[in-house]
């Protein structure tokens, strides 16, 4: 068999065993990241932080290479990454992290979580709408859709679809949410100490404020795994609340303001 034949054979196995292949590839990625964390940063940077950034870098090149929207998952041989990191298994694993949550601690931070959820919906929306106005958008529909995108990349299109935004504005709105999620993943470990993100209570505030489940999931994994369930607990309510107020209260408020 020549080298092309061998390559096709490997590719065939990867396509046929897509999820198994994803386990092996991700395991290898984490192995390399842990080694780099230990050797190159002397343990200062968490191995999972490097793995997540590496994943994002690969997603960038995967996106450039295929022209698709799903990073490396659009490459047929790596399609299993799409299943492994998709919403189904992500939510399954997030629920599993709750198994050993300190119930007393979580209950004590309940009110803080609610306050964080409210702020986490209002603040990004205001920033998003002001940015939209600054860039010359004057109609309530576009301003609201872009503002909603700053909440999360799901709230943006859901709101936009509900109030009839055009596709360019929808694309901008989604891109804003995706950019925010990516920045939360990369930025959280960098600012964790500065913002006091080192205990269950602040993790619940963080989850409610950052919202985007993928951002929070990645950000906390890269910072301190024991905080994951607390942040996830509040973050999972964020998108639903955003979808609730985006096309209703927020849209009506913006329409009242810009006419």
């Amino acid at each position: 068999m020549n080298s092309i034949g061998i390559w096709h054979g490997i590719e065939h196995v990867f396509i046929e065993q897509s999820l198994v292949a994803a386990f092996a590839v991700v395991g290898g990625l984490i192995l390399v990241s842990n080694y780099a964390a230990k050797r190159l940063t002397n343990g200062r940077v968490h191995g999972s932080a490097i793995a997540i950034v590496l994943g994002l870098v690969l997603a960038y090149f995967g996106g450039l290479y295929t022209g698709g929207k799903k990073g490396v998952a659009d490459i047929p041989a790596l399609a299993g990454i799409g299943l492994m990191g998709g919403a189904m298994l992500r939510d399954f694993a997030i629920v599993a992290t709750a198994f050993e949550v300190d119930v007393i601690e979580a209950r004590r931070a309940g009110l803080l979580g609610v306050l964080a959820l409210a702020l986490g919906t209002i603040l990004p929306f205001i920033v998003g709408t002001l940015t939209a106005v600054a860039f010359g958008y004057h109609d309530a529909v576009s301003i609201t859709t872009i503002g909603a995108g700053a909440i999360t990349y799901i709230v943006g299109p859901v709101t936009g679809a509900a109030i009839g935004a055009d596709s360019t504005v929808m694309a901008l709105s989604i891109a804003t949410g995706v950019t925010k999620a990516v920045m939360v993943m990369v930025g959280t470990p960098l600012v964790a100490k500065l913002i006091g993100l080192d205990n269950p209570r602040s993790a619940m505030a963080y989850g409610g404020l950052m919202g985007t489940v993928s951002g929070v999931a990645g950000g906390l994994a890269a910072t301190d795994p024991k905080l994951v369930p607390y942040g996830a607990l509040t973050a999972t309510f964020h998108t639903g609340i955003g979808c609730l107020v985006g096309p209703s209260i927020f849209f009506l408020t913006v329409r009242a303001l810009v006419g």
Binding site: G27, I30, S48, I52, V53, G55, L56, V57, Y60, G63, V72, M84, G85, G86, L89, D91, F92, I94, A96, T97, A98, F99, E100, V101, D102, V103, E105, A106, L119, P124, V127, G128, A150, V158, I174, T179, K180, V182, M183, V184, M185, G187, I195, G196, N199, P200, R201, S202, A205, Y206, L209, V213, A221, K226, V228, P229, L233, G240, I241, C243
Partner: protein, 145 residues
Amino acid sequence: MIVFGVALLAACTLIGVYLGDLLGIALGVKANVGGVGIAMILLIAARIWLDRRGKLSNGVKFGVEFWAGMYIPIVVAMAAQQNVVAALTGGPIVIIAAVGSLVLCFGAVALLSRFGGRSHAGAQAAHAGAVIEGEADEIAPRREV
């Protein structure tokens, strides 16, 4: 048995997501409202219930904790399928809106965690961290034969 742990986790997830969908419909929203959060609360309640009745076996624990330990690899896979190209080529409006809300929200976290008071992660939370990191020693203690 391990499968009971996995099935418990699955049942909690399904019920939670279903209730989240119902909540969404009740509120007139085209989205799931807190389904995963409800599922997490169900799982916590199930653990306490099993623990009290002395039915929290190592198998059940392992079935759930295995998936908690797969959390970080799954997040890495999730990162690898983000639309990073769109994020980096969105232009100034996207960057400004994202960075602006991020800075403001990080600031609010700092503020809330200061006013909310600090809490200490107890032994339970520390063990949970080790499980999620995939490095807990006591995931499945070997039974004497």
